[in-house]
Symmetry: C2
C-alpha cells in the first residue's frame, strides 16, 4: 500500500507503519507524475490530496486527521468507492475541557473582570454578587456523540443539569434528558448555556439563526465548538448586541481566520479562540494510533477497522 | 439579644431572626451612644464594629460574613471571651469553580488567544499544539479544608492528579495524596498547577516567596484564591518574568484594590480578578442560614452551633 502522508508523520511513526510489511509511506515532496497514479491511501487532506483523487486509479482509503469531514469531496469518495475514516473520539477530552473553560469564565466573572482590567478598573463589589455557580444551572447541548457526552459528563460533575439534543432524541449516558431538535430549541430558550457540537451537514447549516436566537428568553451563553457555518454570524452578533444572549464562547467561525472587519473581535461579552478547542500536545500520537489500526486492518481484510464515515450522512 | 447588622439583611431575614423572640436587629443607622453599650452580637465587620467592640460591655458573639478572619482583632476577642463564627463552607462551590476556570483558561489556550486577540492575531496553528488537557496533569493544593477538598474533587473529575498539602499531612477525601508542608514544596516543584487556599496566619504569611518559586522546575501555573499576603508579590512578579512560573491566576492581592502601578495589571500571562472567587448570587442566603442557626443556638444554649473559629489558630 502506498500511503501519502499529509500530516507530518514522525520518523518513528513512519517506520512503524512500514514494519507492517506492505506499506510504503510517501511524503508530499516525493510525490511525482508516476507514483501519484498508484497512491492507495491518503492521511490528511489538502490540495495535493485533491490532485491524487483526480489522478490515482488505485485510491481506496482516506484517513482524515479531523473529526468533521465537511471540507472533503464526500460524493466523489462515494462514486469511486473510497473508504473514509476520521479521528472522531480523540477530540472529546480537549473540547469538553474547552467548553467548561468558556462556561466558567462567564459564570465566575472572569470575562467581566478582564474587560474592566484594560482600564485598571477594580470591579469586585459589582461582579461578586453577579457571579454564579454552575451548580443547578442548565446546559443544552446540541449533539450527543462522543464529544457531547464528554461535555455532559464534565458538567454533571459540577451539578449542572444537562439536556442533549439529537435527531433521535433517545437517552444517552451523562445527559439528564435527551430530546429531538424541535424540543431542543424550546429547552434552549430557558437554558443558561446553549452549546453546539453538531457536525456540519445540510441540516445543521445556519441552524443557529435569527429565528433560533429570537426564541431565547433566559439570556443564555452561546458556545460553538462545532462548526462555524452552523451559525448565522450576523444573527449571532445581533443577538449579542440586543442581549438575547448574555455572551458567547466561539472557537469556530463561518470564515476562518476570522476576518479583520468582524465586530466579534471587539465584543467584550465574547471569548474567541482561533479554532483550537480540539488541539492538544498528544494529538499526533492519538491520531496515528487510529491510522495504524486502520491500515493494519486494510492489509489483512481490505476494510478499515474503526471510525468509518457514512458518506451520505456526512459524519 | 441585640444584633448589629453590617451585612444588609433583607427585611425577610430580619423578620425571621426577630421571630426567634429575644432578638432585636439594629441597622447601622440606628446605632447611637445608648444602644451601642448593649450590643450583644455583630453580623459582619467594619469600623463601626470596631467601635462597638470598644464600647459595648455586653458583646459576646461576632458572626463574620467571610471564611477568612485575618482582618479581625482576634486577640481582643479572646481577651473579652467573645465567640467568633465564620461562614466557612459556603465558598467551597464558587471558589472551586473559579480554580477550574483559571486552570482550564491556561491549559486550553484561552489566555494566549485572548492576548493575541488585542492585535487581531489568529494564532491557531501556534496554540493548537501547545494546548494541553488537564487529564493526568498534577495539581498541588496548599490547604485541604472545605475549599481545598472541593477543588480536588472537581479536578479529579477531569482526571487530574491531586496532591494536598496540610500541616497534618493525613489522608483527606478527593486527594490522591496528602503531604506535610515541606514535602508539599517538593511536590509543587514538579507540578503543573500550584494552588493556594490556605488561611492567612503568621505561618502562611509570605509562604510563597522567592525561595519557594526558585524551587519550581516545571514552570507551573500558580493560582491564589486564599489570601493576598500569603504571597510575596515582588517575588511572584519576578518568577513570572523569569518563566519560573508559566502563568498565574490571582484573585487576592497583598494590597486591594490592586495598586494602579502594579506590573500585574499588564502581564499577559496573568488572569486577575478583583477578589470575587467566593462570591455568588445566593451568598447572602447561605451566609444568613449560618447566622440564623448560630443565633438560635445562642438563645437556647448560650453557645454558637457551628463554624466556631479557633482564635489562637486564626481559622
Amino acid at each position: 500500500m502506498k500511503i501519502l502522508d499529509l500530516f507530518n508523520l514522525t520518523g518513528e511513526q513512519r517506520a512503524k507503519l512500514e514494519s507492517l510489511g506492505e506499506v510504503q509511506v510517501i511524503e508530499p515532496a516525493e510525490l511525482n507524475d508516476n507514483n501519484i497514479k498508484n497512491i492507495n491511501g491518503i492521511y490528511g487532506w489538502n490540495k495535493k490530496a485533491q490532485n491524487v483523487l483526480g489522478q490515482s486509479t488505485e485510491l481506496k482509503f482516506v484517513q482524515s486527521n479531523s473529526a468533521g469531514v465537511d471540507y472533503m469531496p464526500l460524493s466523489d469518495f462515494a462514486d469511486k468507492g473510497i473508504t473514509l475514516t476520521n479521528v472522531s473520539g480523540i477530540h472529546a477530552e480537549p473540547i469538553s475541557e474547552m467548553v467548561v473553560a468558556y462556561v466558567l469564565a462567564f459564570a465566575r466573572g472572569i470575562v467581566t473582570s478582564q474587560a474592566a482590567r484594560r482600564d485598571q478598573k477594580w470591579i469586585g463589589d459589582q461582579v461578586r454578587m453577579q457571579n454564579y455557580t454552575i451548580k443547578n444551572r442548565t446546559a443544552v447541548i446540541f449533539g450527543t456523540g462522543h464529544i457531547g457526552r464528554a461535555i455532559a459528563e464534565k458538567l454533571q460533575a459540577f451539578g449542572t443539569r444537562t439536556v442533549g439534543v439529537s435527531r433521535h432524541g433517545k437517552p444517552v449516558a451523562h445527559f439528564d434528558q435527551v430530546v429531538g431538535d424541535q424540543k431542543g430549541v424550546l429547552q434552549a430558550a430557558k437554558a443558561d448555556f446553549v452549546i453546539n457540537i453538531m457536525p456540519l451537514t445540510p441540516t445543521t447549516r445556519y441552524f443557529f439563526n435569527q429565528a433560533f436566537f429570537d426564541q431565547m428568553t433566559n439570556q443564555p451563553i452561546f458556545i460553538n465548538v462545532g462548526r462555524g457555518p452552523s451559525v448565522d454570524t450576523k444573527a449571532l452578533i445581533a443577538a449579542l448586541d440586543q442581549h438575547q444572549l448574555a455572551g458567547a464562547g466561539l472557537d469556530v467561525f463561518e470564515s476562518e481566520p476570522l476576518p479583520s472587519d468582524s465586530p466579534l473581535w471587539g465584543m467584550e461579552n465574547v471569548i474567541l479562540t482561533p479554532h483550537i478547542s480540539g488541539g492538544f500536545q498528544e494529538y499526533g500520537d492519538e491520531a496515528f494510533a487510529i491510522l495504524y489500526q486502520n491500515i493494519a486492518s486494510f492489509i489483512q481484510t481490505g476494510e478499515a477497522a474503526i471510525n468509518k464515515v457514512d458518506l451520505s450522512a456526512g459524519y
